[in-house]
């Protein structure tokens, strides 16, 4: 019987493990480093740290994503999309369909949302010692966030209004052209 060639051994390894030996070595090296740092990370409140670490992994995928995905679908439904079929393209020149309209809510809501997601401790007044520590007033943040949010929606509304007005003008012109052609 012939000894197995290097090629055959690699194929056998791949069949059993599911990837190349290099894959295994890299993963093992990273796990070893994670353990080396991890025992130091877990020293002290091990359970608390583990909960925070795993919680951080799941926060977006199992909490934030379902929340914003469902909200987004609800807004689309309110604005009349996803009820009928074939309601036009994403952006028809001169026409604002429900597709484009949803983005006028989506974009300012997203920007306002990420600002709150990052700065919620200050915006929601969660940091009791902020003023005594920094010497700065803490009551400005909720108002600022609300005003920024108001500006974002107002700017979006302005863009939408301009688009609607332009669209209406285009449509009137098209109708006028059609009447002239019909004479």
């Amino acid at each position: 019987m012939k000894p197995p060639t290097a090629q055959a051994a690699r194929t056998a390894f791949r069949r059993r493990y599911g990837a190349s030996p290099l894959h295994l070595l890299l993963v093992l090296a990273s796990f070893a480093l994670a353990c080396y740092a991890g025992v130091r990370l877990l020293k002290g409140d091990a359970l608390g740290v583990a909960v925070w670490f795993v919680g951080a992994a799941l926060l977006h995928d199992l909490v934030l994503l379902p929340l914003y995905a469902v909200t987004d679908l609800a807004v689309q439904r309110v604005l009349g999309h996803r009820s009928g079929e074939g309601e036009g393209e994403v952006k028809v020149k001169g026409k604002v369909g429900p597709r484009a309209a949803v983005n006028h809510v989506r974009v300012p809501a997203f920007v306002s949302g990420v600002l709150l997601l990052v700065y919620w401790p200050l915006v929601l007044r969660q940091v009791g010692h902020y003023t005594v520590t920094t010497g700065l007033p803490a009551d400005v943040f909720p108002g600022r966030w609300l005003l920024i949010t108001a500006c974002l929606f107002a700017a979006s509304a302005t863009v939408l209004a301009v688009r609607l007005w332009n669209g209406g003008r285009e449509a009137r012109r098209a109708r006028a052209r059609a009447r002239r052609a019909g004479k």
Partner: protein, 419 residues
């Protein structure tokens, strides 16, 4: 049943209907994060080095680090704005990358529920590695963002969590990049056109039953970019002075702390660390020790010593900084000379504050920091006596050092040989 998975729900590929998800979009977010996270990691390591943790126990917030401190080097005093730049970049970039991180996670969500959950040993190992990657990223962003807002709700010392968390994360990050970079480059080369859902290039990201698009792929990228831009605008201003600071509308240090010579940002007020009037009143003395000698100076005697000037900023680990302030006081080398240590013999110095306890009530400054002629025990700033909140009667100011090493309310200097 096991092989095909449930016919409904997120494990079914048709559950995910966004027409945007695909290798190109994921690759764009991935490459941005590859560059961004690399900068975050390097500036983070630099920030730890800036504390000169190997110099003394009081400088080291993570004394168990062992080999994880292999790269440490004496933190330089030139350029004097070094920490201001590296730490401002670290914090501002971290905040700005939040929407990109969310978008990246959104773009690969079908993979989390891919069925069957484990196909091979290799895939099981990779999924475990992904837990470290995503958990580590979330952990680092969350602890960092909470810490800069002084919201200390995390389970332990920020320094321990953020430093060791970074090392747990970075291994998984390197693994992920080496497994995926080739695919990402290929996807970017191929462009935004969607490959067939079951093709290899699709990598399980393309929906087999896409809904009607409500936004273009370019529009989605623009929206994420706008989120990052908004965060940049409300944050970056806290690293500069003047009217630009006021643009940092939501950042913790975006407000003006008052006018006048002492009207610049305060990390911790005298009240917040329990400084009493008697601690810094007429009974205050500066004790200088070294070479077996000890001298007690009154405030008046300190003022009688030769005064030097230095224009230096305050740069905090929380990412904010001030512009250069005009400090005036006694050179640290002059104080070393009081106990008979000449400039060329001046070793290290242990600086102690009248603060009672607390992690940064004392610090050891390196020989290099001590001998820099801009390193002062300052008594005046911008032409006025130091305010209580800026460290009256005397504070240390060292070029390039993190803010907490510029100890306030100093009462004792111990010059000593490097240990």
């Amino acid at each position: 049943m096991w092989a095909t998975g449930p016919q409904r729900g997120p494990t079914h590929p048709e559950f995910w209907r966004s027409p945007l998800r695909g290798p190109w979009l994921t690759a764009v977010f991935g490459v941005v994060l590859l560059i961004g996270v690399t900068v975050l990691f390097v500036t983070g390591l630099l920030s730890y080095a800036a504390y000169d943790p190997d110099l003394a126990a009081v400088n080291d917030q993570t004394p168990d680090k062992a080999r994880l401190g292999f790269y440490l080097f004496p933190w330089p005093t030139s350029p004097y704005w070094l920490y201001r730049v590296t730490q401002g970049l670290h914090v501002t970039l971290g905040v700005v990358l939040v929407p990109v991180l969310l978008a990246k996670l959104w773009s690969v969500i079908p993979k989390l529920f891919a069925w069957p959950p484990v196909r091979s040993a290799a895939q099981a190992a990779e999924r475990l590695s992904l837990l470290l990657l995503v958990g580590g990223a979330g952990f680092e962003f969350v602890t960092g963002i909470l810490n800069v807002q002084l919201h200390y709700v995390f389970p332990g010392s920020f320094y321990t969590l953020h430093f060791y968390g970074a090392w747990v994360f970075i291994g998984a990050f390197v693994v992920h990049v080496s497994f995926r970079l080739k695919r990402a480059v290929r996807a970017l080369r191929a462009g935004p056109r969607q490959p067939p859902p079951d093709s290899e290039e699709a990598a399980g990201l393309v929906s087999p039953r896409p809904a009607e698009p409500t936004i273009t792929r370019r529009g989605a990228l623009g929206m994420v970019g706008l989120g990052s831009l908004a965060l940049l605008v409300v944050t970056a201003g806290q690293s500069v002075d003047g009217w630009l600071r006021r643009t940092a509308l939501l950042a913790p240090h975006g407000q003006d702390p008052g006018s006048g010579p002492n009207g610049f940002q305060i990390n911790k007020t005298a009240a917040s660390v329990g400084i009493r009037a008697t601690d810094i009143g007429p009974a205050w003395r500066l004790t200088v020790r070294g070479a077996g000698r000890r001298i007690d100076l009154t405030y008046a005697r300190l003022l009688d010593m030769p005064q030097s000037q230095a224009r230096l900023p305050i740069a905090c680990v929380e990412g904010w900084s001030t512009s250069d302030q005009q400090w005036s006081g006694v050179r640290l080398t002059e104080l070393a000379a009081l106990v008979g240590l000449g400039a060329e013999h001046a070793p290290e110095v242990l600086v102690e504050s009248v603060q009672r306890g607390g992690p940064f009530s004392s610090v050891v400054l390196s020989t290099g920091q001590l001998r820099d002629e801009r390193s002062l025990l300052a008594v005046r700033v911008n032409g006025a006596v130091l305010s209580r909140d800026h460290g009256y009667p005397a504070r240390v100011i060292v070029p390039g050092a993190p803010g907490v090493h510029n100890t306030k309310w100093v009462t004792r200097l111990t010059f000593r040989e490097p240990s």
